[in-house]
Symmetry: C2
Subunit: 174 residues, 2 copies
């Protein structure tokens, strides 16, 4: 029983972005950090974006950031979204050639177990995964990267002082 690397990386990307909430991170940067090919990571990030966990800003100075605060990103849901095939056994799918199908309790029993699994994850958010040490390991100071759009809100937050750009969306998410 495995979770795909796909999901695994997705979670790590979220952790990375969570540890660097104060700035934008590019895929290039993350793939370098995790030693995965850029293109590969791209697909994973893509899925994260499509599912609304991450925001991607194109163009020069662009990058990635969490689409909402880490505390509002549930791990269970991430796994559900990223793990394409949660059918534990064949008979979970519609079609089955097992002669027990229909009378078999196995499906229900495994289904309950799966619910327990995901339920357990549902009680955790990305914020719970972010320990102080992680911040230390992963967080890269803005200076080391250079200032980016993230830090100069083009559309600008009214108050100005806040450096957590949670609501600085500067374009229409199509």
């Amino acid at each position: 029983m495995h979770i795909t690397l796909h999901t695994d990386y997705a979670l790590r990307v979220l952790i990375y972005l969570g540890a660097n909430e104060h700035r934008l991170a590019t895929i290039q940067e993350i793939s370098g950090r995790f030693e995965v090919s850029r293109s590969h990571l791209m697909k994973i990030v893509n899925q994260l974006i499509r599912n609304g966990y991450v925001e991607g800003l194109r163009g020069k100075g662009g990058g990635l950031r969490l689409a909402r605060p880490a505390a509002r990103i549930g791990i269970g849901q991430v796994v559900r979204d990223m793990e394409s095939d949660l059918a534990l056994v064949e008979c979970f799918a519609g079609e089955s050639r097992c002669l027990l199908t229909g009378s078999c309790r196995l499906r229900a029993v495994l289904g309950n177990a799966l619910d327990a699994f995901l339920g357990s994850l549902d009680r955790q958010t990305l914020a719970d995964l972010l320990s102080p040490q992680q911040h230390e390991i992963l967080r890269v100071p803005v200076d080391a990267i250079g200032n980016r759009r993230a830090m100069r809100p083009t559309t600008a937050v009214a108050g100005g002082g806040e450096n957590r750009p949670e609501n600085t969306v500067d374009r229409d998410p199509v």
Copy 2:
């Protein structure tokens, strides 16, 4: 996230044997019933035997039967024994090249979820999987098979009765 067919078949074999507790079933018979090759099923059964769930009697008239009553066979343990690799993500294993290793809470979180999964299964026994319908579908009357050693415990279980033959066979014992 999948359970291997290996484990799936193992559970089905147990169900089959549970539905036919009153007699011995051969691998040949089961493999025919499930439309799997004999050799393949053999390996699975073998593992079940080594793990003490099933008893295999060799020689003419031999076959398989549950090593203990269905109610004493826990599904969680079966899955644990059959599923070779329960490491959900890479960092479950000793070696890991993830730069988060050590500080990452992901492992613990997934570990808890896995425990919840198996724990759910631990609350079920093989007996719970055996619905009356299954008995009907799977149970093959002794007549249809021919009498076997099963009912004359020459080798095994001198104590005899144990829990099994509520279903008295038409054959003379010993």
